[in-house]
Symmetry: C2
């Protein structure tokens, strides 16, 4: 294995800085320090902090494992539940530091950063679209008793998860995520 490229070092070692400090709060100095690269290298690879953040968002979506959710065999309700259970487990292991990049950037990027907002908006949209498709299959397979529109249920699940992640950060405890799994997720996918 060769050494990771400077670009890979920058992206690979800075997720925690973004989640910890937010978009406005994380400076380029903070980011290059965490990555262990000289500041000059940053601008060789990214034209701005915003472009770097967009790169992070684009790489974050695959960590949601949307393809395996989309390809899951039935029961489809179980696939939705396992999807969120996995995301909670990642936080329980400490691998996500209780945060979510999309929620952090939603709350900490001003309107002065339209490309970042667009990347976050698109990512939420991809996530909700895949969940919607799986919930449609669940409904068509007779697995759901609710008659709510699958797109609305999908959006409500993502928002419930994000709110629980935020309160977990504030409280330093994971019980909001446990409540999300036990109450919101269960009730909305009855």
């Amino acid at each position: 294995m060769g050494r990771p490229s400077v670009k890979e070092q920058l992206v690979g070692r800075t997720l925690g800085v973004w989640i910890e400090r937010g978009f406005e709060g994380a400076s380029v100095n903070d980011l290059v320090a965490a990555a262990g690269v000289p500041k000059g290298s940053f601008y060789n690879h990214f034209s701005s902090k915003e472009r770097f953040a967009v790169e992070h968002v684009n790489r974050y979506v695959p960590t949601l494992a949307l393809e395996s959710l989309a390809d899951a065999p039935g029961p489809f309700v179980d696939a939705v539940r396992e999807h969120f259970a996995r995301l909670v487990a990642l936080r329980r292991d400490g691998r996500m530091e209780f945060g979510c990049l999309l929620g952090t950037f939603s709350n900490s990027a001003t309107e002065a950063y339209p490309d970042l907002r667009e990347a976050v908006r698109t990512s939420f949209g991809q996530w909700i679209d895949v969940l919607t498709a799986v919930l449609v299959r669940a409904r068509d397979a007779g697995e759901l008793s609710t008659d709510r529109a699958p797109a609305d249920v999908a959006a409500a699940l993502v928002d419930g998860f994000e709110g629980a992640v935020a309160r977990s950060r504030a409280t330093g405890a994971l019980d909001p995520l446990d409540v999300f799994l036990a109450v919101t997720l269960e009730e909305l996918t009855r």
Copy 2:
């Protein structure tokens, strides 16, 4: 009416700056500029940016109108629904700029600010406690068909609302809040 004191100007004119830029992102310079007061005045009234943020959090909780929620006559389920409908209406009017101070600080204050984290944690706790008490009354009055613990339902409602607020910011649209009212709130208070 006399002129507002410098302290009142500082607190009264800076909520939008916090919600827009987050705790780390809003500098004391940003805050005094928005308040229209000299920077020196800031430190006459607050020993640090963190103490100023704690003052904001403490003044934010009354805007949630928890007393009127706690004192509402039955049906208690209606009181809970009207509580959240009012919070959404405040955002629809633009008076809250799509944000929530508690959610913003949850996502943007690092662990280096324990007093702020404690203020946010306490505020979420007060909110959830009042909702729990009203949901207990709803359950005892036979208004709920769910057998979920009221404290868990209360927490799930707050988190669902906060997640919807965050996604509203990211998308620049209020439909996440409408979905929260129509789906999460309705399903969890059946």
